[in-house]
């Protein structure tokens, strides 16, 4: 087993990996940019190495600096988390060459599944159903137009190196194609350093169902069932659950076996996910392989009881998978909500700034994977994920109710977050019925925050602000504010103890 692991990431996922290392008796090394000098992952790691300026290309994406940090600290392995270098086959190869263990798939498999076009070809050969699409990225404008017409609009522009919705655009006619290709290329270039894009048939109102796979270095491959990830905005997941309300035992078995076949065809090892689109008629199509630990991995951990990060580290160190397919089962129901620094009332605009108040939800079956703390300044440079709230309960409805309550306990002030929005999502009848598809948010939440109850909430906010002004209690960081006379007795300080008629 490794004695020291470098975590080449930031935020909640770096914290997650550092905690796993600590439990396994492995020393952890954090790396950080100037914007993250005070970040949580830096506080928790045993050692921390500065990488330089905030932009990711000069810090978390800078291979030389990360390899040098591993060298300088004597780390034997690198965990890339998700995003940044996690699916960069050049980085995996570099680690292999430098004698560092990359905690992820081998570089050849990473390269294969990371090239969406080659991945599709491999899957087709292995008999895995795929979405109709272009076979190549190197097309001229005319060829793109011809391909779009042959596939039939609507089509989807996708980044070859993509993931997380970056570089994706839906195109409904010839006129929209050129600007969508341009925007897709620019976004892909900035997110992945590679501007290749291709076209795929856009399947309307599909569900997004993915299968978690673990493969050891000795040829044993198992799946850990599905995650339903249909609740998305801007093609990015914001809520995931397991099991999927859309699968029965037969379809689950069929998709799981297909996922294992897909990963074997790719020569894949370590943890990875096979994403499928599931249409209204129960047909499923291979979408892509996510060659990394995923943001939503905790829902799988809660229903299967398997610690995926621990397994990743064990597999990378050469261990055999400790279970066979028939040893694995789903138990109960898990839901994850992603708490993003975004304003759902303003089209999910990013919301950077200082967290002035943080209350973390807790209680039975509640897990909060967070990368932030009260007083932390959320930088503008990186992905807006702040934390993930994951709940487990015996069945879906109990989990849904637990999530609704936990979201109310999740309080982040100072920046906008998606917590309140997600509370409305889990309360929506379509979600409660398990019928939500990928068009759910666009259909039902187009103008959030302006509707029912807004007037009353605003007046309550004013009432609270007035009460606060008359009887100050709040202060930055929850501490008493210097210079405030907090103990001056006025009718307002005692008002708080009064009861309006009938309160228990």
């Amino acid at each position: 087993m490794f004695r020291k692991v470098l975590v080449a990431n930031r935020g909640e996922i770096a914290v997650r990996v550092i905690r796993a290392c600590r439990e396994m008796g492995i020393a952890s090394v954090a790396v950080f940019s100037e914007a993250d000098a005070a970040a949580l992952h830096v506080r928790l790691a045993d050692e921390a190495v500065p990488l330089g300026p905030p932009p990711a290309v000069e810090s978390y994406l800078h291979m030389d600096k990360i390899v040098a940090a591993a060298r300088a600290t004597g780390a034997e392995a690198v965990h890339p988390g998700y995003g940044f270098l996690a699916e960069n086959s050049a980085f995996a190869r570099r680690c292999e060459k430098e004698g560092l263990v990359f905690i992820g798939p081998n570089s050849a498999a990473l390269e294969l599944v990371g090239d969406k076009v080659r991945a599709r070809q491999t899957m087709e050969k292995a008999g895995v159903p795929t979405v109709p699409g272009m076979k190549s990225c190197s097309a001229s404008a005319e060829e793109f137009r011809a391909a779009a017409r042959a596939l039939g609009y609507p089509v989807m522009v996708k980044a070859s190196a993509g993931g997380g919705g970056k570089g994706m655009r839906i195109v409904t006619d010839d006129g929209g194609l050129a600007p969508a290709l341009e925007a897709g290329r620019r976004e892909a270039k900035s997110a992945f350093g590679d501007d290749s894009v291709y076209l795929e048939k856009y399947i309307e109102e599909p569900r997004h169902v993915e299968f978690q796979v673990l493969a050891d270095n000795h040829g044993r491959t198992v799946h850990l069932f599905e995650r339903e990830c249909s609740i998305q905005r801007r093609h990015q997941k914001i809520l995931e659950e397991s099991p999927s309300p859309a699968l029965d035992a037969k379809l689950r078995r069929e998709m799981g076996e297909t996922a294992v076949r897909a990963m074997r065809a790719a020569g894949y090892n370590n943890a990875g996910t096979v994403e499928f689109l599931l249409d209204k008629d129960g047909h499923f199509y291979f979408l892509e392989v996510n060659a990394r630990l995923q943001v939503e991995h905790p829902v799988t951990e809660l229903v299967t009881g398997v610690d995926l990060v621990r397994q990743q580290i064990l597999i990378a160190s050469g261990a055999d998978l400790p279970f066979r397919q028939e040893d694995l089962a789903q138990r109960g129901h898990a839901i994850e909500c992603r708490i993003y620094a975004e304003d759902p009332g303003a089209n999910f605009l990013p919301s950077a700034g200082r967290i002035v108040l943080l209350r973390e939800p807790t209680g039975p079956g509640v897990r909060f994977d967070s990368g932030v703390f009260e007083g932390f300044e959320v930088p503008v440079f990186y992905d807006p994920i702040l934390a993930k709230l994951i709940v487990w309960a015996e069945d879906r409805e109990a989990a849904r109710r637990r999530m609704a309550a936990a979201l109310q306990d999740c309080v982040i002030l100072g920046i906008h977050t998606t917590a309140g929005f997600l509370g409305d999502v889990v309360g929506h009848p379509e979600f409660r019925a398990g019928r939500a598809t990928t068009s759910f948010i666009g259909k039902h939440f187009a103008s959030w925050g302006t509707g029912e109850g807004e007037d009353e909430r605003k007046r309550l906010a004013l009432a609270a602000a007035a009460f606060e002004a008359l009887s100050p209690g709040a202060a930055p960081g929850g501490a008493a504010e210097p210079g405030r006379k907090k103990d001056t007795a006025t009718p307002w300080t005692t008002l708080g103890h009064w009861r309006a008629g009938g309160e228990a």
């Binding site: 002035v356 990186y382 100072g414 309550l460 009718p491 309006a500």
Partner: protein, 185 residues
């Protein structure tokens, strides 16, 4: 909830105070008095009565009829953040410019439109130049923040008179990016 309507007599009035607040950039004038353990908040001819219990320095429990609403507050300088039912509002004194980021562009004296950055980020594309004629909803600038591209558009037809940003610039929220002279009707 229904407004209790103007409340006349009956209660024990402790004191009344008037407040001018800026709520998400909008000026709101309210008066507040305590009556029988509840707060009566008036705004114009509307009134709202709520029981208030302070749970902690940052949390209040408001009571509306038989419903209980959790409210969280935190001060940051001049601004107070208030969360009601999972929605966050920014409350401040009217003189402080502390509206919701992206609250919108404003009109300068003389009627030209000042298009602002809705959030902090990096300018990755300037789609226009000075003197160019633009149509409503045309993309002017692309600002990237937290790895997402955000297209900043014009809300009017007009002519670009000034560009205050360059590709690669890091801009703050509310920074004026482009000024547009409206097209004469």
């Amino acid at each position: 909830m229904d407004d209790p309507g103007p409340l006349a007599g009956g209660g024990r009035s402790v004191s009344a105070s008037a407040f001018d607040f800026l709520l998400d950039g909008e000026v709101r004038r309210i008066s507040v008095e305590a009556r029988d353990g509840a707060l009566v908040v008036r705004e114009g001819d509307r009134a709202l009565e709520t029981g208030v219990r302070r749970v902690s320095a940052n949390e209040l429990r408001l009571r509306l009829g038989d419903r209980s609403v959790r409210v969280f507050l935190a001060r940051d300088g001049e601004r107070t953040f208030v969360a009601v039912d999972g929605r966050q509002y920014v409350v401040s004194e009217p003189r402080v410019d502390a509206g919701r980021p992206g609250a919108g562009d404003d009109k300068a004296a003389g009627g030209s439109l000042r298009v602002k950055a809705p959030m902090p980020g990096k300018v990755t594309k300037l789609a226009i130049s000075v003197g160019e004629e633009v149509r409503k909803n045309q993309t002017l600038v692309i600002v990237e923040a937290m790895k997402m591209e955000n297209e900043i558009k014009t809300s009017i037809d007009g002519v670009v008179t000034k560009v205050h940003a360059a590709v690669g610039d890091l801009v703050d929220a509310e920074k004026i990016l482009v000024e547009i002279e409206p097209k004469a009707a």
